[in-house]
Subunit: 313 residues, 2 copies
Amino acid sequence: MKKYAFGVDVGGTTCKIGLFETAGPLLEKWEIKTDVSDEGEHVLDDVAAALKTKMAERNISADDLQGIGLGTPGAVDQEGYVRSSLNIGWTCKQADKELSEKMGGILVKGINDANAAALGEMWQGGCKGYKNAIMLTLGTGLGCGIIIDGKILVGAHGGAGEVGYLIVNPQEEEKCECGPKGCIEQYCCATGLVRLANRALVKPHESSYLDQVDQVTAKDVFDAYKAEDLLAKKIVEEFATLMAIGLAGLSCIADPEIYVIGGGVSKAGQPLLDVIQKKYKEYTEEFYHDTKFALAQLGNDAGIYGCVQLILE
Amino acid sequence: MKKYAFGVDVGGTTCKIGLFETAGPLLEKWEIKTDVSDEGEHVLDDVAAALKTKMAERNISADDLQGIGLGTPGAVDQEGYVRSSLNIGWTCKQADKELSEKMGGILVKGINDANAAALGEMWQGGCKGYKNAIMLTLGTGLGCGIIIDGKILVGAHGGAGEVGYLIVNPQEEEKCECGPKGCIEQYCCATGLVRLANRALVKPHESSYLDQVDQVTAKDVFDAYKAEDLLAKKIVEEFATLMAIGLAGLSCIADPEIYVIGGGVSKAGQPLLDVIQKKYKEYTEEFYHDTKFALAQLGNDAGIYGCVQLILE
């Protein structure tokens, strides 16, 4: 094993970059702007330039580098093609191969960003030491990475773990952006929680702290929940119920040892885990009840950690 | 690779046994009665006696035998413990190790019966040549085996692929035997289809061939469906919709190349696949639409094939 590796987590606004020792420590992290102009065609040039600058600055040669892990939004199939990475502008791009060419042949491995976050949490975060884990990132949307025997489940089209599509409420009448109705991503993320809150607020309801808030956020809902606001309790329990229906599906299909919950919503902390776990037990067979729940620990750095873990495999 | 292998598929009524050449051909198959008395404690003795008799009869020595694959109902965990195999009477039994001891140390590998069927269909049946496949057995209940990169997905508690628990109708009021409500097994199997039919028959409905049948079976429903009976069409479409919601979950979690449908209900043939596939496309993102659908080909022999395939891994 060589001494260094880079993790690059490409997002729609910035690319996060981390320089790691392969033995574990994160030496340095920084961000560059993601240039999404011209259908994202400058992104990999900008990344390559940033990596080369850092290598020169630290006197790291190509021979010292184990490789580069490259996380991107969108599905990454088994040949490394990134498909439908729309917020960068890529429709189908073999990003790993292209970056490797720009870096003079250094090994590059590509991975979906939610999958990278899961690997990162397995390596040095909330599911460290577990080989069968599922990470759910409850941010603006819902991201998921499924780890089986220490490796990411990719699937035939790179579509495994795209759990946002899981249908948890077939009776839903509002269409999801993805097409079907009642997908878990319509409810179980920051945007989804706000949707549930707004629906509850326009119905007749008990007086609530949330009535006084101008534009309710996920944080408002959980703050009110922790203050034992009755309406917030109903909203969070509905959220947790829909989450539990999805988790019941994940358990009976993939049966992980542990669920790790990350993303902005997870800042609600232990009370979030508690309510999800309570509802999970109502919707699953006893057999699955000892599955563990933990909070993610690496925050926005999970992706760069996971990209490096991928290189160490 | 040695010349022979046995596949043993233990059921609640009979044990199916197959003698195979490891190169592929099934040489001979037969059944023995499953003695479920005394909490099933005689089952493995009876199996061992049957195998030894056959070896003597055919002059096969232990040295000619690659091993024995042992399929059983209930979850089989990663240490080979068979858990909750209730229709045999076993609550927790390391059946592979016990049978190996009774057979003088010959290699025995244990597997859940639905998983064995999936491996069998991958080896010589409906999903031959595919490495990422999901088999659904629509019999009295719903069985499932998930194959990832050519291997069965077992999960942390042996509970992966126990897809009968997948919740596809959270609004259901009738409890499932497993505890929760609205599990796919309440609808998507022979018993479930009859439940849907009986519910439709007690509601006001158009005149139907099914009105004249005393106790409706799954076959009656599909026969009427093929004869363009309007009520049967409604019943089958409801069945297919619930199935599609489950398949949408399987695709976004595990993303297989192919679904293989077996069990008694699959005798309805291509019209069954067609209606399921049509609904599947309504409930999934376009991304997953080229996933293939096929009928199982090995019938009740799938289990013994899969048990042998396990030995060849």
